[in-house]
């Protein structure tokens, strides 16, 4: 039971992180019709910038978070302006390929930034946790900096709480804003029919910049969450962002709600698979948790070809 609850908390934390990145993908998709494969780069840049501000410059963690968000949003906007704008109106997979090119070049640059070292985003919680319903054994040998185990209780890491709260707040605020402001509608309109949107007085360029900036900011937050890993992260951790791909398909490519739910499903499924599959179904092979989200994605697509909340394409002759 405790094992299950702990897995669930971890899974929800992970899911929140995936949801943030997934929403980033969805925002860009909804506004421009492009699946942005450069999202991983923005994410890991978030980790790096936060690390630099907190660890190298010695500033407080919230400053690191804010700095990372602003910087990555700006970088994302720059990328959009420089290479994505000319791709307007071209087939979606051509645009996707361009983002893949960005991704490839970005990987080299970030690998260079990281150098040989391993970094964290500078979060103040480390391995700290709290204990629900159990107690810390009195006789245990303590390793300074590592909390004592929580016997017969539920140990919950502060970083997991941080992940869950951050994801909820950020996505909640964003969702509310999109629902209330005319930009939410304008973004989707632009993706659906750019020329028609422009004819309504929507400035397509501004919408593109805005969506990339938002996605960049979300990725940066995701990167900060990724960077709370106990053992730190290297540049290759950027690839974690790709785990959001099955999430957005499960949820439906153009649905923010779907991205959140898809992210949570993927996070929880991954955590549970990690916990139970090695014993319950070892014949599926080690590391089955890596493909579990994709298996779920297949199942969802079998039933719902547009994901759980995706908009079915209107086909009418």
């Amino acid at each position: 039971m405790i094992e299950l609850l702990e897995s669930l908390v971890r899974g929800v934390g992970l899911g929140g992180m995936y949801a943030l990145i997934a929403v980033g993908f969805v925002i860009i998709y909804r506004a421009t019709g492009v699946l942005n494969f450069a999202q991983p780069i923005f994410m890991i840049l978030g980790t790096y910038i936060s690390f630099t501000i907190v660890d190298t410059l010695g500033l407080p963690f919230p400053v690191g978070v804010a700095g990372a968000i602003i910087a990555v949003a700006a970088i994302a906007m720059g990328c959009e302006r420089a290479v994505m704008r000319p791709m307007v109106g071209r087939p979606p997979f051509a645009a996707a390929l361009v983002t893949i090119g960005l991704f490839a070049a970005g990987l080299v640059v970030t690998a260079k930034l990281f150098g040989p070292s391993v970094i964290t985003s500078g979060d103040p919680w480390g391995l700290g946790n709290f204990c629900i319903g159990g107690e810390r054994p009195a006789d245990a040998v303590e390793i300074p900096g590592i909390p004592l185990p929580c016997q017969d209780g539920l140990a919950i890491n502060y970083t997991d709480i941080f992940k869950i709260v951050t994801a909820a707040v950020v996505i909640g605020l964003l969702g509310a804003w999109l629902a209330r402001s005319r930009y939410g509608l304008a973004m989707r309109a632009t993706a659906m029919d750019q020329e028609a949107a422009m004819a309504q007085g929507i400035s397509a360029g501004r919408i593109f910049s805005l969506s990339w900036a938002i996605a960049g900011a979300l990725a940066a937050v995701g990167g900060i969450l990724v960077g709370t890993a106990a053992g730190g992260v290297a540049a290759a951790a950027a690839l974690v962002a790709l785990k959001a791909l099955p999430a957005i398909i499960i949820g439906g490519l153009d649905s923010i709600k779907g991205a959140v739910i898809g992210g949570l499903i993927v996070g929880v499924a991954e955590a549970l698979t990690k916990t139970y599959q090695p014993d319950a179904a070892p014949w599926l092979g080690a590391n089955f948790d890596v493909v579990m989200p994709y298996v779920l994605m297949f199942v969802v697509l079998l039933v719902q070809p547009y994901g759980l909340y995706g908009t079915k394409e209107v086909q009418r002759v």
Binding site: V88, G89, R182, L185, A186, R188, A189, M192, D193, Q194, E195, A196, A197, M198, A199, Q200, G201, I202, S203, T311, E313, V314, R316
Partner: protein, 262 residues
């Protein structure tokens, strides 16, 4: 006054489709723009509204101004804010949006306060839309989509409304309605530029008319004058020399074509 002076439009740097088009839409007038398919009517509208970019087109000469303010080559958002709305050729509604969302997008440049009133106005104009406001626009019938497109343009409360073939695909009754609607919109203080294949309808309500051929305005004048022009009667109104239509069943197997500019 919406004023277009010697407008030249070129696509892909080579295809010259508007060869110095000049026309004027008075703030209180309805102006009809007639012409065969491919004459350059839509391109002229695009030149006004700044939508040439997406078609790899450019204005190479001429000017567009609205109430004295030059908007030549301005981006579409600026054009809409300066009071010009367009009902695009082919309707171009947002198929995946609901009807109401479509209308809301039309009000993008308006502040929130005015939306409710404008929605009401459109819904009274087109009760079908009100009835189905929550449904996806893509499933509307062709004619219903046309109504939505007009409604959407009106949401921006334009001073000048450009209509590109609004009667396309509409039932006669609705065409008549739209025709009245245009008159009504015009009376309420909006200048209208009406591009139409249905010349009978357009000339019935227009104050002034232009005829385009091959990228040039080849004929223009007050509407009643055009209505009585024998060429217009034959080639745009489908009336024989005697002023009455002959049956399609009696068509000759050869054609005679009128070309003003050649």
């Amino acid at each position: 006054m919406l004023e277009i002076r010697s407008l030249e439009v070129v696509y892909e740097d080579v295809v010259l489709v508007c060869k110095g088009v000049s026309l004027e839409v008075p703030a209180d007038g309805i102006v009809a723009l007639l012409g065969a398919n491919g004459a350059g009517k839509t391109s002229t509208l695009r030149g006004i509204t700044g939508l040439l970019d997406t078609h790899r087109g450019k204005i190479t000469a001429g000017s567009v101004s609205v109430d004295g303010k030059t908007i030549t080559g301005a981006d579409p958002a600026t054009v809409v804010t300066s009071g010009i709305s367009q009902v695009m050729e082919g309707r171009r509604i947002f198929v995946e949006f609901t009807i109401e969302e479509n209308l809301r997008v039309g009000a993008h440049t308006r502040d929130r306060g005015s939306i409710a009133a404008n929605l009401d106005r459109v819904y009274t104009m087109f009760p079908v839309l009100a009835q189905r406001r929550g449904e996806r626009a893509g499933y509307l019938s062709g004619g219903e989509q046309q109504m939505l497109a007009i409604g959407r343009a009106l949401m921006a409360e334009p001073k000048y409304l450009l209509l590109d073939e609004p009667s396309l695909g509409l039932a006669p009754l609705v065409v008549a309605q739209i025709r009245d609607l245009i008159v009504e919109i015009n009376r309420a203080g909006t200048g209208v530029l009406l591009v139409e294949q249905n010349a009978a309808m357009a000339l019935a309500i227009a104050t002034h008319g232009y005829v385009m051929e091959n990228g040039k305005v080849v004929l223009d004048g007050p509407a009643e004058q055009l209505r009585s022009n024998s060429d217009i009667q034959e080639f745009y109104l489908g009336l024989g020399a005697e002023g009455s239509a002959s049956s399609y069943r009696d068509l000759k197997h050869y054609k005679r074509r009128k070309r003003w500019a050649s």
